[in-house]
């Protein structure tokens, strides 16, 4: 996200990958485990307009620090030294732009290997680089994604090339999109002064919790006690916490108030955004006695407004 804000990216919807891509690179991503259906639907064996034979029409490269279970689906595996993605990408950008790095290898990868990969990208009808959290959560963080996008932009001078993040979590893209059209920012938004302010690090949840700044928390369909570093999440144990969730989690166990709600896409219809920003209509398939997410929230807002009004009048 932050990397996108720094420079933008050449991207597309996943159907483009299915229909046209003849070179697919996965970098710091392990789709076999994290996105098990990605391969068959879009990037691997999927058949499309220019790829009538599916897997046979694509060359697949995996770049990672360890041979993950995805290796067996790839034509080539490039193992790099942990924490050296940025250096390797820098070298690849140099090769793309016609400069040869003055060394034999970078991040434990031979320059010739990178040269071959860059040439493959240049020769591709449509090259796609998918990158995962192996890039964004290691040393360099968003700057690593930035380097990927920059590589994509450099490569766009030579061939049609796309760089796409492998976003995890159900509908994380949807929440980013909605935040964005309502506040201008995708996450880390502070409404404290009556209007949206944005600054990751300053207003992002991990940082706020780590600095023990919040004095109450309302958590909607998230599992911070499991998914955040405990160093941050433990602050939630000391403050009043309200959780909206369809089922029991580590967070609901810790919460002061739990409001069970319908499971979006299971017992309530709605819209979810796929990782390529395509909105998908979700249907309701099961009945549930609980309210929809927005009902308790609307009630809370109405009540707060009423209290504020009373306060203002007295």
């Amino acid at each position: 996200m932050v990397a996108l804000q720094l420079g933008g990216a050449p991207a597309a919807t996943l159907g483009e990958v299915k229909n046209r891509a003849d070179l697919v690179i996965f970098w710091g991503s392990n789709p076999a485990e994290s996105h098990p259906r990605h391969f068959t639907r879009y990037s691997g064996s999927a058949k499309g307009r220019m790829n009538p034979r599916g897997r046979k029409d694509r060359y697949i490269v995996l770049v990672d620090i360890r041979p993950t279970p995805s290796v067996k689906y790839a034509d080539e595996f490039i193992q790099i030294k942990p924490g050296h993605d940025y250096e390797v990408l820098t070298a690849m950008r140099m090769l793309t732009n016609g400069n040869r790095p003055d060394m034999d290898s970078v991040g434990d990868v031979a320059i010739q290997t990178l040269e071959r990969l860059v040439q493959r990208c240049k020769d591709a009808r449509l090259g796609v680089l998918f990158f995962g959290q192996g890039i964004t959560e290691t040393r360099g963080k968003h700057q690593n994604s930035m380097a990927i996008y920059q590589f994509g932009k450099d490569m766009s001078r030579h061939s049609k090339f796309l760089t796409l993040p492998m976003r995890g979590h159900y509908n994380v893209v949807g929440s980013g999109n909605t935040m964005c059209w309502q506040t201008g920012y995708p996450f880390a938004v502070n409404f404290g002064r009556g209007y949206p302010q944005f600054n990751p690090g300053e207003f992002s949840v991990v940082d706020l919790l780590k600095r023990k700044e919040p004095d109450a928390a309302l958590i909607v369909a998230a599992e911070p006690m499991d998914h955040l570093p405990y160093e941050a999440a433990r602050h939630l144990e000391n403050i009043p916490t309200i959780v909206l969730d369809p089922r029991e989690t580590l967070t609901t166990k810790m919460a002061d108030v739990v409001i069970p709600v319908k499971h979006a896409g299971v017992s309530v219809e709605g819209t979810a955004y796929r990782m390529d920003h395509i909105p998908i209509k979700m249907r309701s398939v099961l009945n549930s006695p609980w309210p929809k997410d927005d009902e308790p929230l609307s009630t809370i807002i109405a009540r707060i407004k009423a209290i504020r009004k009373e306060e203002a009048e007295t």
Binding site: L14, N19, R157, T183, Y195
Partner: protein, 546 residues
Amino acid sequence: MGIRIVNGEVIDPAHGEDRVKRDVHIKDGKIVADAGQDATVIDATGCVVMAGGVDIHTHVAGPKVNFARLMRPEDHRYEHVSREDGYERSGTGGVAATTYTTGYRYCEMGYTTIVEPAVPPLGARHAHEELVDIPQVDKAIFTLLGNSEIIFQYLEKGETSKINEYISWIMDATKSYSVKIVNPGGANMWKYRADIHDIDQKLRDFDTTPRQIILAIADAMATLGLPHPLHLHCNNLGVPDSYKTAIATAEAMEGRPLHLTHLQFSSYGASGKRKFSSEAPRLARMVNDNKNITIDVGQVLFGKTTTITADGPFEYHLHKLTGSKWYNGDVECEDGCGVVPYDYKRKSFVNCIQWAAGLELFLLIDDPWRVYLTTDHPNGAPFITYPHLIRLLMDKDFRREQVEKISAEAAAEIPLKVLDREYTLYEIAIITRSGTARRLGLVNKGHLGVGGDADVAVYRASRNWEEMFAKPAWVIKDGQVVAKEGKVTRQVFGTTMYVHPARGFADIEKDLADFFESYYTVNINNYPVGLEYLPRPELIPCQVKA
């Protein structure tokens, strides 16, 4: 309870009224003959009374607009709408403002209807979700079909009736109002990193040409009786000699109705020392001579903005030129888009020519009913600059002052410097509401006759047209006062207008099922946008000619 606006001067070009002193009566959201004795009286002494503004082309919602917001946090950092200022919902400004801010700002300028003109079918659901969050105005979307692979397949086989059926289906599936074509075939070629440069150039994947695409879609739209004709962004936009493509496109229509959008961006020639010139006079002549054609200008104004278009190759060209941020988003089987921030500078020769070309189009097209005021928000400039643009059109002295501030080299070359025409208030009312409403086929909008929608803007007359149009004294939406003195006083939500054309031209059910199965990554059953996405739907009837 009704409203009676008294003592104002009514400008209602749809009924030929130019500064007529008469009362305007409003009741139950409509203009009526008599609002009754208990009506609230608005004393509009010293004011002109017009219908609410109707913007025919403004990028305010949908995936690519949201990418523009996402990509530029620095665009929002310095401007905001705050809870403290009494707004119902806070938001941020900048050129790609947030949805609520967009609605408030349009309202505060006296606009009551806006059209988002470029939504790829796959993004329609997203666009409608954003429209739900745009208050104060009625709204509609146009669907992008100029690079639709389904249409290309039918074109190859010459299956006209299937094209009719598909367009009818997709209008309904996207809850859209009309069809927009952007760089026909160009986005498809961009999937090979190529572009289209001629309306008779063949595509690579399909045996068809832009000319065939445009004509087939225009004919289908006529058959379906869509209220607004084809809305076209020409091939080869933004480059020297783009005017030739625009003229060739217009000629290709052979009298069919056509709306050429942001024509300013297609009005460049390659003459002069810098091989970049304004050919707006030629295009103006073309428009004057062809009564089937209407245009909106897409005026460029100086300052920082973000360009957003479905024309992927053009945005890449701009990115290479400026080295600034670039987002590209190709949409499977349908279209593409690009986003690049841009800064129009008074020092830049090219930018000055662009600025002048837009004004030349305004001043040289004789019939105000066929030229409309837009900045192609935010491509030429953000929509909040409309009052400034109006002053440029109405005040030749002000315009001359501005010409003196631009690059001297450009100032010496532009035809603008000899143009003395000044728009009248009556003409401004046409290019900002009456004309656009008529071309959109909105019979209840853009006028103050009995039966019209009670969307009214009351402007306090002033010789400084910019001030006058920036802060209307009252804005009325659906019969309620929603803004006073240029500030929203009440949050309301308008309707989303859509069409539902007739079906039954051909059976395409199996074709579509096969196509979705083979080439899309979404299920056809999940593809159509239902009415549940339009909380206040307004069906506009199609007029099928017998």
